[in-house]
Symmetry: C2
Subunit: 455 residues, 2 copies
């Protein structure tokens, strides 16, 4: 009986975490976010503090980029209906499916490659630029921006091949440069990033609706900020490439463009306050914080004491897993920091340093690593999932582990440490029955981590 | 004025963290712990639930091993004075100094090498075994155990050279075996670990006083449990060596001993409940939890809202630093999980994967990494320190960083990322004025991490 009861307890705990995660996902679904942010009353479209008088707008065109753009477009059609003249959004392979249930007629959806850009993304980017360039003063261009948008809308500056752009990114990524530094260079090699998409739309009005996957929600960072002023310069881009000793390594076309920019013979990206951005409204309609708030609320409704650790979690996935396990152990041993039942939450984005040849993702590595740290403990669940439903190149969203996970793995001949070393978290979790599988959710905000400890 | 005030605020915060850390260190000083645990009234010595009638005890001999043993011995002399007949404790190089202020007469202190054992440690171990073997039924052997004791008391089983023992440890450490597995093998190659020191003392009474540096305070793990029953076996040791494919790699003498143990031609380590352990009392007199409790109490006295994350923190130091910084950012941005002023605490032991050739320690790496994550933030301090006062092979106990640390480093030509990559945390923190230097504290419990955010 004793054992049975423990098993039931952990099942109840897993089911609670599942329900909490579902609630969080629903809170950041494009439908929820758009309906929360946009209010249509007669001819008035209210968004944040802005009101657009639709009777004075000739055409509404819709463009978009990112993993959530298809679902966002479908919802927008549902909200604005026949008022939309047309448009095009680009999303990642497999994400169009998220619109099947709702249907979409006016806005065309194309799929392209992520995270490595491809020719389809390039073609879509060209068409999107043409669409917004054709918009005039009486038109409203609605731009649907979500995570992944940067890779999905790869339009290099004239004279630079997509291949050279990719090579430059690759060199920067390997050099240890920070993501902000990499983006500074990228923005100066693009025709759309760093406010340039909005620049192409001028003089049309622009309404950018952003679903944020960036911890801290920096508008410059989400999809490389296609509608917001770019504070960085060609000078800085050159300095960064010099600092990481890449100036001589990068393709000649890239070096020449940056030199031209430094000499001011080509135009800078639009800066904050520039005239071309005066008719642009950019607003965040959903982010990891919304998911977190709903998870906390749902946890409380289910009777848990709750604690939010951070919404900007970062670090190597397996090490973050160890820290989460340490928190779980403290809850089990001393009921601190929370009384039981306890739900501890964190949101953000961890990283994986690939060493092995296995299959997995950052959330699955967090979970597998945490499984080792809670081995044998009763009444504990640790889960980590990506809100887009796709963790790494797998069909799982993440993993949910408990005190019995490691022994279930060992029974199936799996040494968790070895599998983690091989970055083979998917197979290990699959065999233990501990994958979280949601399918593409149609949204994309931060990852979420849960530590739940029963009474 | 604005800037000045911020500077003052961060100074006040740093001074608070310093004071909180000092309070924690005092709470786990050997004096504090021994005086809290031992009560001498006339001829009665009370420890935990045991009472020793000193009038019926012929001789009190004292042996000990670990970084805190010298200071523990000095305090014990102060408490029991002339009742102590003599003894010997072994501590790490530089730790004898911690007894200078108090003086010590009856108990001899020797210094040996840590973490790599040396001939001095071997000689001390032999003398300690002889001392306890000479104790008889009417005697009381007090064993002072603290972290580092395992390396400082390296007495291989007969027939095994210290070199072969070291080679076996090295192989195990590199194989990815868990610390418990490594210790299972080590205990079966030793004359003192895994209850064997207490075995040598039989039939004398044994009182082991333990200052725990092991998260979770497992008596089997602290200094390899010289006075507690060892649940592991020769069979398991062999299995572990086979599992990590080391059976053919280990020195012949080691393989032969384990084979002999498996065939039961040599004696197992004492098991829990064995007759030779019937007269042994082992009690923890201080641990990381005591430090944590006092830090929380001192934080509250200073007006902080406090939160204990865990007392079993683990993970790669630089990644743990990132997580602590993420907590700090959340406090600054949303005042969660605590209202301000906030003090978040964690205790445990991180690890460092050495990649570079610089100088530093795990606590300094936590601090340097956290500095990058809180760059530019006002009113935030993150600190990490080792309670023994020596972080890695340096004269610093750890580091205390704030939002200005990274810019102070850059002003002095230091790129924090580069220094972290080179494991050169000491120099980076030194140049920023952010080292914590306490000197050897004479104690050794868990490491402590602090996140403090001002109002």
């Amino acid at each position: 009986m004793g054992e049975r009861r423990l098993a039931t307890d952990v099942e109840a705990l897993r089911s609670d975490v599942d329900r909490i995660a579902q609630a969080a996902l629903t809170a950041v679904a494009p439908e929820t976010c758009l309906r929360r942010a946009l209010h249509v009353e007669g001819d008035q479209l209210r968004v944040a503090k802005e009101t657009f008088d639709l009777s004075r707008i000739q055409r509404i065109i819709v463009v978009g980029m990112g993993k959530a753009s298809a679902r966002m477009a479908a919802t927008l059609e549902d909200l604005l209906g026949e008022r939309i003249s047309g448009g095009l959004v680009v999303t990642a392979h497999g994400y169009r499916a998220a619109t099947r249930k709702v249907g979409i007629r006016k806005i065309k959806i194309v799929e392209a490659s992520h995270p490595v850009p491809d020719a389809r993304g390039l073609a879509a980017a060209k068409r999107i630029v043409t669409i917004v360039e054709e918009a005039n003063e009486e038109d409203l261009a609605i731009v649907l921006i979500s995570g992944g948008g940067s890779a999905l809308l790869p339009l290099p500056a004239s004279g630079i091949a997509l291949y050279d752009l990719a090579a430059t990114s690759e060199l920067l990524l390997r050099s240890g440069a920070k993501i902000q530094e990499i983006n500074t260079v990228r923005k100066h090699l693009s025709q759309v990033k760093g406010g340039q998409l909005a620049g192409h739309a001028f003089p049309a009005q622009v309404l950018a609706l952003v679903l944020s996957d960036v911890p801290g929600d920096s508008l410059n960072a989400i999809a490389s900020g296609p509608t917001v002023g770019d504070p960085t310069t060609f000078d800085q881009a050159k300095q960064i490439l010099r600092q990481y000793r890449l100036w001589e390594e990068i393709p000649k076309s890239v070096r020449e463009r940056i030199e031209a920019g430094v000499r001011s013979t080509i135009q800078e990206t639009p800066k904050p306050g520039d005239a071309v951005l005066q008719r642009v409204t950019t607003t965040i309609i959903g982010s990891g914080s919304d998911a977190v708030e709903e998870a906390l609320a749902e946890g409380e409704r289910l009777g848990y004491y709750t604690l939010l650790l951070t919404t900007t979690l970062e670090g190597e996935a397996r090490e973050v897993g160890k820290v989460l396990a340490a928190l779980a152990r403290e809850e089990v041993n001393t009921h601190r920091p929370l009384s039981l039942p306890a739900l501890i939450l964190a949101a953000g984005e961890t990283t994986v340093t690939v060493r092995g040849t296995g299959k997995g993702g950052r959330n699955q590595e967090v979970a597998l690593s945490a499984a080792r740290g809670i081995e044998g403990l009763c009444g504990v669940v640790v889960a980590s999932l990506g809100t887009d439903g796709r963790d790494g190149p797998t069909d799982a969203a993440g993993g949910m582990v408990d005190g019995g996970t490691v022994s279930r793995m060992r029974e199936r001949g799996i040494d968790p440490e070895e599998y983690l070393e091989e970055n083979n978290s998917y197979e290990a979790l699959e065999k233990a029955g501990d994958l979280i599988v949601t399918g593409p959710t149609g949204t994309n905000v931060a990852d979420m981590c849960f530590v739940a400890v029963g009474k």
